[in-house]
Amino acid sequence: MPLFVKARTLLRNLFLSHRVDSDFDREVLSHLELLVEENIRAGMMPNEANRAARIELGGIEQVKERVREARVGNWLHSVISDCRFVLRQLRKNPAFFAVAILTLALGIGASTVVFSVVYNVFFDTFPYKDFDRSVVFEIRNVANVGGWKSRAFFSAEEFRAFREQNHVFEDMIAHEDVSRLFYNDGKFTRLLPSGAMVTTNTFAYLGVPPLLGRTFSEEDGRPGSPPVFVMNYRLWQREFGSDRKILGKSFILRGRPTTLIGIMPPRFNAFNASLWMPESLDRGGGSLMGRLMPGISVRAAGAELDAIAHRLQKSNPGGIFPEKFTIVPETLHDSSIGGLKKTLYALLAAVFLLLLIACSNVANLLLSRAIVREREMATRAALGATRSRLIGQLLVESFALATAAAAAGCLLAYFGLQAVVALIPRGALPGETIIRMNAPVFLLTLGVAFLTTILCGLAPALHVFRGDVQPRLTASTKHAGGHFRHGKLRGRLVVGEVALSMVLLIVAGLLMRSFLVLTRVDLGFDPKNVLYFRLALPDAYDFDFADPASIAKARLWKNSLTRRLLDRMKEFPGIVSAAECIQEPPLRYDWSDLIIPGRPHIERWETRHESVSEDYFQTLGLPLRRGRFFSQDDMTRARYVAVVNEAFSRQYFPNQDPIGHRVKLQVLDRTFLDAPHDAYFEIVGITGDYKTRDYENSRWHKFPEVFIPYSVQGFSWRTFMARTSIDPRLVLKSMGEEVRAIEPGIAVGTSGTLEESLHEFYRGPQFELVSLTAFASIGLVLVVIGVFSVMAYTVSQQTHEIGIRMAMGAQQKHVLLSVLINGFRLVAAGILTGFAASLAFTRFLSSQISGVSPTDPWTFTAVATLIALVGLAGCYIPARRATRVNPMIALRYE
């Protein structure tokens, strides 16, 4: 029964609240009348009776409010009425809400995007088991001689020694790229994307179960056991249409029937391989990876491997260890995202500044409003609203604001994240990192936004109850005498905002200048209309390092192949000239120690080197400075001649003519290279410099370089280039056919145009530039909003004062000027603070920018001017409003 009564009451209170209220009004009224009547009967005069009755009743409104408070469902009722009130306010004041919501949404959206990227990249990089303990390493040559500087390739013998003798790793794996993956589907032989030969413990080590079938057992690696392989999801999807029936079938891979035993899930792409083949732990080698035992440091692991390698060097002096070396370990994480780390930290700092700006803006808006509403709050309190009721109302208001902002921020975050994923440079992230919206991060950002809104939204209620209600009621809000503290706080927020935005803009400006310098650089060669492709040669072209006869035979085959292909390419319509080299520009890795007979030296002499065909220089558009380029005869006879660049000539023949001198490239003497040993090359020509770079360092360099004829050696890694008169991509499409026409077993591997690959280099800096510029622009918008809201509020508070001044004869332009100066004082303080902060901050940027000083005066001046203009614009509208104050109305306003 009571439950039923309660439910009925609740419904009545909620839906018939008008009737309930008017009923109660009558009840109170009748009570008053009864009291008056009683007093009259007691012998009072009517008006005295009335007064006594009212005194006994107490405040009628307060009584009503207390009854309302006691009603069932009161809180729900008040929430509903508060919501209605908020809607009314919103209709009355749409600009305020729009600005507040936009500000918060921008902050929430941008921070969610960046925090999500950072979270996924830093904490969820790989799907592997305990990937944060995985370590990769390389041997670094610390002696001043010996050609190569480092290698990350380890022989089977080394791997065995490391794996069996170490006490720091739980387990170790080895993997080796298989780039020439020829697949015969019964009709054609095709080249599949490169795969990997992995030790049989690899899948257990990585700890990712297969999507279908099984992964390798130890059995699969044993010599003589049937060949098997595991495929990655993408290859399965693209080449075989996700057909489950292909599991267990036999494929002709590299001429051998091989059984497919498993397919991996989408998020598994270890070693960027399209498929994996097993190798026993005894014979596996290549790149190594080890999982540290818990509590062991990377450095300790490096020291242990170092000791093992040095033992190995002693017992086997004929091996390929340099004289002095050290093993350099690096976590898998650092090695795969090391390059992006700095950018992400920069973005994180930027977005943190942005969130600060957004929150301080909203705080500013709400605090301004709080002062205007103080009188409203005081009136409510006088009419009997309790503290909790007032706070409740403001909570609902702030909550509504924050919720709307959160919804808008969510949308912004969603689309922003898609834009960022599209912008992140390819190859900068491991293929297995998935960038997606991160729920905890989003909630955290929402939390910050809600907290700001609610804390600042509650300010008026807290203020009312801190002091006496009475003076606030009688004093006009227009005399903001007692609110000096608030005014100062708002001023500081604006100064801080301007300063933060200045830092952001300066960083973006510096990146922009640096990007322009980077992309406008004169490379020294003409990358337009040049295509390149690599050849994937079948196993028949392999040779045995220990067998000189096989080396000679392979070289002969390769050179004949190159000759025929170049001749065929030159006749192809659209191709102007064609050439062969090891690595297409602008990338360069290979260094060699240099020996010039009769020129002893103490310091290390090094040069880049490249093996090219005769039309290399013409194809790249490189100028001939002196002497001659290679002739076809140099190639066919494999003459020991060389062309050097100007940088080489400057460095090693300072005041001399290098032509006619002979040089020796030490790197060719290395035992494992199929190159002539002890060969001296005669310099026949000098070409212009062109700029090169490597993957690690984003700067352009001009290095000394020696070019020799390709035909003297037989590296298997070969790149063909062609300059075309038409769109190089059209020509590139027919190259596969041309290559097959020469020899059916050969396929085209990696291919592209030089312009495209240059664009790839610019994507990294471009990503930084675009994202920081976006943040800086958002920051600028927020600054306008901040300055505008504060000045608009100040002007509306000074209406009375301005009115008096104008009545006393102040000119419009004086009023305008005084408001502008007031506002600009804040902006100027912000600019000065931002200037100091930027000077301190941009030093950390010097590694990210090139060609521009981190304290570039142009950028600083331009940004300061921009902010000053924007700040003035923010002040201008309120200032104009101030000049339109009509003195009569302003004075009568009170």
């Binding site: 009451t9 009840e27 109170v28 009570h31 009547e37 006994e56 307060q62 207390r66 069932v72």
Partner: protein
């Protein structure tokens, strides 16, 4: 009556209102006067406390209200004790009796 003792006996307001309604239905002022009369003028229930209490008890289902005519033919809101309210009053009375007894015992023995 001073402020201190009123606070002490705040919890008994419900009981007193219910008790005043046992004999007959009354309007608000009547309840207030009846309590004053029963307690010999010790308790003076002001409208500021009476109305919230009455409305709360109505919502609890202890009393029910209706509009009636006063002795002087004025429209007034009357409250009547319900079955539920009667039970409640019994329980409250028992509880209060126990408290009184316990306090008296405590005061005597010490």
């Amino acid at each position: 009556m001073n402020r201190e003792s009123t606070t002490l006996l705040q919890g008994t307001l419900d009981m007193r209102v219910l008790k005043s309604l046992v004999a007959s239905e009354l309007h608000g002022l009547g309840i207030s006067r009846r309590i004053q009369q029963i307690t010999g003028g010790t308790f003076l229930v002001k409208p500021g406390s009476l109305f919230p209490a009455l409305h709360r008890m109505e919502e609890e289902g202890w009393v029910s209200s209706f509009w009636g005519d006063s002795e002087n033919n004025r429209r007034a809101k009357y409250d009547r004790l319900s079955k539920c309210g009667r039970k409640r009053l019994e329980a409250e009375t028992k509880r209060w009796g126990r408290i009184c007894w316990a306090i008296a015992q405590a005061l005597e023995t010490s």
